[in-house]
Amino acid sequence: MRKMIEGSRGVAEAVGLCRPGVISAYPITPQTHIVEDLSQLDADGDIEAEYVRVESEHSAASVCLGAVAAGSRAYSATTSQGLMLMAEVLYNIAGMRLPMVITGVNRSLSAPLSIWNDQQDTLALRDSGWLQLYAENNQEVLDMHIQAYKIAEDDRVLLPVMVCMDGFILTHTYEPVDVPTQTEVDAFLPPYDPLFKLDPNDPYTLGAFAGPEMYEEMRYEIQRDALASKAVVKEVAKDFQSAFGRWMGDVIDTYRCDDAETLYVAMGSVVGTLKDWVDVRRERGDKIGIVKLRCYRPFPADELREALLGANRVVVLEKAVSVGAHGILPPEIKAALYREAKAPPVRTAVTGLGGRDINFETLDEIEARSKAGEDGFFAGLRQELVEAS
């Protein structure tokens, strides 16, 4: 059904349609509306989940860990500081091979305290064993949650999925979205049938101690399955298209790339801004295209290589800082192109930190500076503030 709803409401409805058995979350801006809406849906009897109120994000993730271990489908959502507090449990969930979904609402990290958007928080969890999907708009984030459960619970994967959505830009924005019916979602996403679960009649031990003679093999298995999950992400995107008629890319998506000389790589809602900007620049004769990175973990190096080779210049937008190093996303893009003799130069712009608006002016600045060969610069920086310090 076509509805005009807030991004958070869309996520709540999508999660409800996935019939989670247990939801546990701790409210934190800008994730709050998602869990408020789910709590309301639960209180009204519209969904039949056990909604567990907890005293922290660490507990929320722990409740979900136990719920999945006991064979239930579980859901949580958090952001920023809450995600950092969850981190210890999140590594455990992945290590114990428990498939679940959380919404990682993207917000900057303290200090300084900021509630506004960038992608520093979820990027900090990139090595945790969680698969990460980044959504461009409210329809995509709604659809991604339904896909995420199917990916996570696939026998070939058995890893949790974090659906990342930009705080405020998506969570608090009203957009028309198609909300599928329960019958449609039930047909696409069967009930969770765990391969193993805690059961006194068929006992298992999860998360046990592993000595040096075994730990490495366990990490190897996670890595092997995470890399192989790329095929599942693609497969599920195709299945979703057949079931719901919507396609927003699988691991990547492209926009006006065919004859493009310059390619921009970005994740999340900024891709929407980029598309409008590219349309304007195209009218002026600038051959610019966009490669949207939709699935950051597993990292689609092959697909990116194929999409980026042939361009004269690649520009990576990064809404985070790898403090003291050369970036988070850009080195991975460069590594994907490293063996190629005709690899285009890759330039990086750090932008949109702590909710700083990324507008056409910012993008014009990035285009001009990257074209002039600058790399690793902060776009939209208020020089007068920096120089005064």
């Binding site: 290590g95 070939r156 193993f196 298992y204 031990t205 075994m214 366990m218």
Partner: protein
Amino acid sequence: MTASTKKERRKPPLGIVTQPGSSLRNKTGPWGILRPVFDWEKCRGCNTCEMICPEGCIRHLEKKQYEADPEYCKGCGMCAAACPFDAIVMEEEHR
């Protein structure tokens, strides 16, 4: 879904212990360097050592006769500390 068809789906990932009794297979004896030595003159057969052993490896053979299984005893010394009659001394084991 039955257990056999689940096995056909995939082998459980490593680290998931599917059979009980793994602590029997995991021999912890080589961890320690100390071993309890009993003084049968002092021992009154009260069972404190057997009950307090966190590894559950002290066996009561007969009245006033105990044995710490060297395959599992980590030499933690809790039995010696708890013995009301100071009948257990921890001694270095040379292997």
